[in-house]
């Protein structure tokens, strides 16, 4: 028995049905619409002053805050999103379909509306504000608020990505593992999670990117205090008024991060 490749070979490029040629024109316009502004931004970069612009105190504070909060938000997404995806993909509780739609709401909600909603939930005069205040906890306009806003908008990315991976993987490996004597926790740890690791990884990368780019909800719920709540996108927006070169430099940084993310998740199942 010689090892036989068990995965089907890639199909040869189809020479079959062709597209009407005019489709190329709007497709090219669409590509330009995406690429032209990015190119314009890169052309605006003052390369000589770039190190100085990026290392100003305000820039460094914003970058550090952004990385810290995005990392925290991503961790929170994993902590909460993995169980959510498991429940959505592997159980048949009543009302699950409705829950799935609601969980996806932040994907389509304007972020500023999300920020307003967070304010009314956790703000000083919000739904839970009174109880939180009694416990000595104040969230709105703190770094914690930034993390919460970022988690709010980034969570669906992780849940959707992981739930899709779980559904694609199916249950048969888990069933075999259970019959072999593995309890639910062992099955989850040794079979389910390793099998969906690529889906989880792309979910993590996507939610980190979404958290890093968060603007509207953060501004509404957390404000814009340097070093506390003023993240990179907020800094870009502010600098645009006072120091356009610094804004462009910071924007370039975000473009680079976005490009890295796109490369990292390329080839993964589409959302």
């Amino acid at each position: 028995m010689s090892p036989v490749p068990r995965r089907a070979a890639r199909r040869p490029a189809s020479a079959g049905a062709e597209l009407p040629r005019w489709v190329l024109a709007p497709a090219a316009v669409g590509a330009l619409l995406v690429l032209l502004p990015l190119a314009a931004l890169v052309l605006q970069v003052d390369w000589a002053d770039l190190p100085a612009l990026l290392s100003s105190e305000a820039s460094r504070a914003a970058l550090a805050l952004s990385l810290r909060t995005s990392a925290a938000a991503t961790a929170l997404c994993v902590l909460l999103g993995v169980p959510m995806a498991l429940v959505l993909a592997r159980t048949s509780l009543p009302g699950l379909r409705v829950l799935r739609s609601l969980v996806l709401l932040p994907l389509v909600l304007p972020p500023v509306v999300g920020g307003l909603a967070l304010l009314h939930a956790f703000g000083r005069r919000g739904l839970l504000g009174g109880q939180l205040e009694a416990l000595g906890v104040s969230i709105a306009f703190t770094t914690a608020a930034v993390v919460l806003a970022q988690t709010f908008v980034a969570l669906p990315f992780l849940v959707v990505s992981l739930e899709g991976a779980l559904r694609t993987a199916g249950r048969r490996h888990e069933e075999v593992a259970a019959v072999l004597g593995a309890g639910p926790w062992t099955v989850l740890r040794r079979v389910t999670l390793p099998v969906v690791l690529p889906g989880l990884a792309s979910g993590v990368v996507l939610s980190f990117a979404r958290a890093l780019g968060e603007f509207g909800a953060t501004l509404t719920f957390a404000g814009s205090l340097q070093g506390t709540t003023r993240t990179l996108p907020l800094e870009v927006y502010l600098q645009r008024e006072t120091d356009p070169d610094a804004a462009v430099a910071l924007a370039l940084l975000l473009v680079v991060v976005a490009a890295v993310v796109v490369v990292a998740v390329r080839g993964r199942p589409a959302l």
Binding site: M1, S2, R6, R172, V176, A177, A178, V179, L180, R190
Partner: protein, 377 residues
């Protein structure tokens, strides 16, 4: 743990969603083949034993342990609580058509999975795993990942993984069906050694009469979610009493009523034959004929069998001519003709056949059980 002390498997359960009402037993050391057409409920029955499916009625008992008990009416009986043992506490193991190896683990780690899951230390589990890999002839594949294995190799590793669980009952769901013709015989032989030599109990779902003959002691035939035939593996293939077993055996089964001169088929033709012991005129009866037992008749009107050609299959110097299925799903007659004689035939043609050799009318209802009670209680 239970009032039922019998060793082996006792499955007697129903699942409404699949319209399954199954009753079968596997004695210690016995291999029982579970046969039936697609959708008959074979895999569902395995799922009931493995614990992947809850019965709506009935019980699953293995070596005296009640694994599932839903009562006779589905609500529990006389206030008795419903019993449910989850799959990981049942000590069974499942080998399916797809090896379903864990892709992120090596062959050795796959085989070590069950011992690890049951709490063995890493070193002990690996020792056990290596022993089983060697046993199935896959010792040299220990460090490979599943993606680097051929279909036959992967299925060997999957067998080692199942055996390393030291199951009380091995559940085999068409284990050879996905293998190519080169790999299947070797693995069938391996299964035969593992099952027979070591006296393992197994429930084997298969479509292949070779599997039944090589691996099974007894056979149970399921059709439409009901047991329609049970018997020794050899009997079920040699004298099938259900449509599915008849098709599997490749024999022609004629059904009718016993008469002094032989069997009167349902379309009124007399098939001359001796009555077996215990068969009296008027009894429902069957005649089993091999393809070479039948020859073309001189005259269609007086022929013992009138076949409507459904298909022709060349087999060396002869051609197997298959008749159309009966309305109730039973396979049509099969006759072996010299290639020259078959050349003129095409689908839809009629062909009268007579018996070329003496046959014995066998007693028994067309659908029924043989070989003692199905359920030990």
């Amino acid at each position: 743990m239970s009032a039922c002390e019998a060793a082996g498997l006792d499955l007697h359960a129903g699942v409404d969603a699949r319209d399954l009402e199954v009753e079968l037993a596997v004695a210690p050391g016995e291999v029982v083949a579970l046969l039936g057409p697609n959708g008959a409920g074979k895999s569902t029955a395995l799922g009931l034993v493995a614990g992947l499916l809850r019965p709506d009625r009935g019980r699953v008992v293995l070596d005296g342990d009640v694994l599932a008990d839903a009562g006779d009416d589905g609500a529990g009986e006389g206030g008795r609580p419903r019993t449910w043992v989850p799959p990981h506490r049942r000590r069974t193991a499942l080998l399916a058509q797809d090896p379903l190896l864990f892709g992120h683990l090596t062959a050795l780690e796959n085989a070590a999975f069950a011992p690890r899951a049951r709490g063995a230390g890493r070193t002990d589990a690996r020792t056990t795993a290596r022993r089983w890999l060697d046993r199935v002839g896959a010792g040299d594949l220990a460090d490979r990942r599943p993606a680097q294995l051929s279909g036959g190799q992967a299925q060997r590793v999957a067998l080692a993984r199942a055996l390393a669980a030291e199951p009380r009952l091995l559940l085999l769901d068409e284990p050879l069906a996905a293998l190519d013709v080169a790999a299947a015989p070797a693995l069938r032989q391996l299964l035969r050694e593992v099952l027979r030599a070591e006296g393992r109990s197994a429930l084997l779902v298969t479509h292949d009469p070779l599997d039944v003959l090589a691996l099974a002691d007894r056979a149970v035939v399921l059709e439409h979610g009901r047991v329609v035939e049970t018997g020794t593996a050899a009997d079920v293939l040699a004298t099938p009493r259900s449509a599915f077993a008849a098709r599997l055996s490749g024999l022609t089964v004629l059904r009718g009523t016993a008469e002094a001169g032989g069997l009167r088929t349902d379309d009124g033709r007399l098939v001359p034959s001796r009555l077996a012991d215990g068969v009296r005129p008027g009894d429902a009866a069957l005649v089993h004929l091999a393809p070479q037992d039948l020859v073309p008749a001189a005259d269609d009107q007086s022929a013992a069998v009138l076949l409507r050609v459904a298909g022709l299959e060349p087999r060396g110097g002869v051609v197997l001519v298959r008749g159309e299925d009966a309305d109730d799903g039973w396979p049509g007659a099969v006759v072996a003709l010299p290639a020259g004689r078959a050349a003129a035939l095409g689908p839809g043609d009629r062909l009268g056949l007579d018996l070329g050799a003496a046959a014995t009318v066998r007693a028994g209802a067309p659908e029924g059980r043989r070989g003692g009670p199905v359920r030990r209680s």
